[in-house]
């Protein structure tokens, strides 16, 4: 079994003439949890989007092995649909079973404590509530995923939401999932990771 979950060698990403990432070498073992710290515009989101195959590298090679889930900066929710309809859509699109397991939608609603807003449209929710729904989306089919990429998961969550997220990260670690968390919140993120990387000006420093 391949022990490497993510392997990047000499990867660069350029938008027009501007290099957002330069000569990135990164190897992440299966089950490893890494925090990615860096200021705004340092290249954290771009790095995660490259790993998630939402962007292609301008140079270098990038290999990943295993199913992946990406908690992106954007909410990726349909504002005209309700919380339940958004989650049901994910269940319908991702399940491999003949019958759609709608039970996982209920489970996600309970885990994120958003059952009371189940029938509200996304457009009517606060930013914190939307973030919880995005996290709930991540839970659907999470058992089949090995790698979790988290882009700034803490901001806009209230204290209760942050605790729920802490619980999820702990659970994924116990299950041996690979985590890559880009964050500004050092204190909150550090207990969940084995290794810390700093990124600045598109280069990984440590």
């Amino acid at each position: 079994m391949n022990q490497v979950a993510i392997e990047m060698s000499d990867v660069g990403k350029r938008f027009g003439t501007h290099w957002v990432l330069r000569r990135v070498d990164l190897s992440v073992r299966r089950g490893e949890a890494i925090a990615l710290f860096g200021g705004n515009g340092a290249g954290k989101s771009t790095l995660l989007k490259l790993i998630a195959s939402l962007l292609s590298p301008s140079c270098g090679s990038l290999k990943t092995s295993g199913n992946m889930r990406f908690f992106a900066h954007e909410k990726q929710l349909y504002s005209l649909l309700t919380v339940f309809e958004n989650l049901r859509l994910v269940a319908q699109l991702t399940t491999k079973r003949v019958q759609v397991p709608f039970g996982c939608v209920d489970e996600a609603l309970d885990r994120l404590q958003i059952r009371k807003i189940r029938d509200q449209r996304i457009g009517q929710l606060s930013e914190g509530q939307k973030k919880r729904v995005t996290l709930a989306k991540l839970l659907i089919g999470a058992d089949d995923s090995e790698i979790f990429l988290m882009d700034e998961p803490y901001p806009t969550l209230d204290e209760e939401g942050k605790k729920v997220l802490d619980g999820l990260l702990r659970e994924w670690r116990e299950k041996g999932k690979t985590l890559l968390i880009a964050s500004h919140e050092r204190e909150r993120t550090l207990p969940h990771v084995d290794r810390v990387l700093s990124i600045e000006g598109g280069r990984i420093l440590s």
Binding site: N67, Q76, Y78, E85, Q92, L93, T94, K96
Partner: protein
């Protein structure tokens, strides 16, 4: 089976959003109606001549308004990274394409139905059953090519500008065949030419559909 369920889920999602945002359908219908009115008054032709060219005016109005609807529909997919969210779920791009295509085809069919009455009133037309096949094949052609180019340009900053530039030239063969078939369905087909235009339309639709499915990977 899985693909069918995924396509059904995507179409359901689009129709729900469209239905809840009812003003979008109304605005697009109004736009098409205004185009027909503008054509009617701006051309200021004799009634008989205006009636003669009305199939062309109808398909042009339908095509322009459906392009507007397509841009609106894809705009909803990119307002907060929803399209990226779908791609992240590792759905086959062909499934994504088919979902959007079906939603757009349903939208076009509703628009066609809504535009029939104004066409009768403005151009004194008398629609018949044989038009249904032409409407379906023409609508499918517009939806097939439109959906492909809209999904290609959806995530680009210049997408709204690029879409008409890419789409309009590709629509010429479909519009030509559809207008000819509509004219023959309306005014009678003495020389038996309608079938030939319909066959040509079937070929165009098939080629564009297969081409779009083969190139669906580019969507991602």
């Amino acid at each position: 089976m899985k693909a069918v369920r995924q396509i059904a889920a995507l179409v359901h999602k689009d129709l729900l959003a469209e239905f809840r945002e009812g003003h979008a359908l109304f605005s697009v219908f109004l736009f098409a109606l205004l185009l027909l009115l503008l054509f009617h008054f701006a051309l200021s032709l004799e009634p008989a001549l205006l009636r003669r060219i009305s199939p062309g005016l109808f398909w042009l109005a339908l095509f322009f308004s459906s392009t507007l609807a397509l841009q609106h529909s894809f705009g909803r997919e990119v307002e907060d990274g929803q399209w990226e969210g779908l791609l992240l779920l590792k759905i086959d791009p062909k499934v994504l394409y088919c979902g959007k295509l079906l939603s757009h085809l349903i939208f076009i069919t509703i628009l066609q139905a809504l535009l029939v009455l104004p066409m009768i009133l403005l151009f004194d037309l008398s629609p018949n059953r044989s038009l249904a096949v032409v409407f379906f094949l023409g609508g499918l052609g517009i939806a097939t090519v439109g959906t492909f180019y809209a999904s290609l340009t959806a995530t680009l900053r210049e997408g709204p500008l690029l879409l008409p530039l890419l789409l309009f030239p590709m629509m010429i063969p479909i519009l030509l065949a559809t207008v000819q078939a509509t004219e023959l369905a309306l005014w009678g087909d003495l020389m038996g030419q309608k079938e030939a235009w319909l066959k040509l339309l079937v070929v165009f639709d098939t080629v564009f559909l297969l081409g779009s499915l083969l190139l669906a990977e580019q969507i991602s």
